[in-house]
Point group: C2
Chain length 297, copies 2
Amino acid sequence: MFTGLSAFPLTPITASGVDEQGFIKILARLTAAHVDSMGILGSTGSYAYLTREQRKRIATLAKQHAGDIPMMVCVGAVSTDAILHLADDAQAAGANALLLPAVSYQSLRDEEVFSLFETVTRYVSVPVCIYDNPGTTHFTFTDELHGRLSSLEGVRSVKIPGVPDSPAAATERVEALRQHLRPGVTIGISGDAYAGLGLNAGCEAWYSVCGGLFPETAKQITEAAAVQDHERVTALSARLEPLWAQFRKHGGSIRVIAAAAGVLGLTDTDCLPRPLRPLSASDIADIAHVIATLELK
Amino acid sequence: MFTGLSAFPLTPITASGVDEQGFIKILARLTAAHVDSMGILGSTGSYAYLTREQRKRIATLAKQHAGDIPMMVCVGAVSTDAILHLADDAQAAGANALLLPAVSYQSLRDEEVFSLFETVTRYVSVPVCIYDNPGTTHFTFTDELHGRLSSLEGVRSVKIPGVPDSPAAATERVEALRQHLRPGVTIGISGDAYAGLGLNAGCEAWYSVCGGLFPETAKQITEAAAVQDHERVTALSARLEPLWAQFRKHGGSIRVIAAAAGVLGLTDTDCLPRPLRPLSASDIADIAHVIATLELK
């Protein structure tokens, strides 16, 4: 399940709490598009803003509506105890894999992160994907640490935050990381603007926010990558530049995707957990324009 | 309560959970030293690693053992809902004030942080201290935002992370911030190595990790500051340089203070919440040497 298009849906959270009907509507788009897997409660799924009970409920709902699509659930938290409880809940809900970031409050040392992954992989019975997201967790993995972690039996994939901005440098980056990884551990690209570069550079998966709302659009890219059509991957990704520009403008994807889910009528345009606030009406209008112009679907 | 020595104790967390007896022993040192206030569940108090129930229990325990010393409780969390629940619990436990950081997962905008403080100060009935700690929360307050926040009726103090490394620059920094603050809102220094500089520069409080374990030592400094004996403040702080060097060496104070609490026999030397791990035996021996040489108490 650690190849192809892994779609990371938003968890819409409105004034009355988690919008379960909105969440189910978003999931329906993913099953209709036959994405290769779902990444529930990722960063765009607002795991960090939800209680243990809410996260358990969302994982359960997702499994009920995922059909036969494998489900990965993020179990990120600051404390190891919390992570183990979340792992219990995710497995009980039917998670096929867990996504584990190194969320820091006090800065973490490599040895602490290694011990965390060792503890979790020994504790759980499903495979684990390393979630490398320094922008939100403020922990930076070295390739050496990724290599050590990939030697743990349960670790099966690494979700990387991006690649350098040229095809040659991206390929060099992915190959350098792969040198450190146990064979069979896949590399998945995230940071949607880097998806084309990453897939062409040899990443086997796209852990995709775009694919969590616009799975048909995202799947065109992973399908072109699957047949090694590098030019088409590049062209399809370049076509989405106005969407990537929105992500850059708003400091990441979550506020844009939340607005987009509202624009599509799946939930409210104000569907972010406080203290996060929705974009302005004018920004949302710009996003609606991008969705219409690019025919995102 | 936002002046003088505000002592921030460690919450010792051993293999069997929160070490309540150890915590009570640490509190006893603070009451014996008659610190001016206590800051419970600060960063060194590991608030970020504990469940709501654990935090409620610790605040309750602290109040039971605080005597007549005012108690501030940190209610930091990523989500606003969680913060409001923690504020309920802290107030029910008898908190005299709340300490509120801007903990980020997705990066926060100034307007979102302002709304958060507006929501919390309207909701609670005790005063609030702004907790400015970019090293752990990854949100940087501007002086303008501190100024806007200080206009909220409940805001009564700002805990700043440090000052520039010279007396003149430190004074300039504190005066610049004060220009923005509503009169009567105090400024408290943290980052213990900066305490002497900050107090001499006009900070009315020291929000002190050192004072959470070595209150007699820390109180000498705030008492010298209270009588404007700048030279003594500088000399007393300079004398503690070997302790500040330990903080620098270990990337902050928490691992050093945890080791020190173990050295003093108040709890285990391994008393940090996982994934954090204790220092090595050799590092702990160095800390024991610093405690003995400086006669920290």
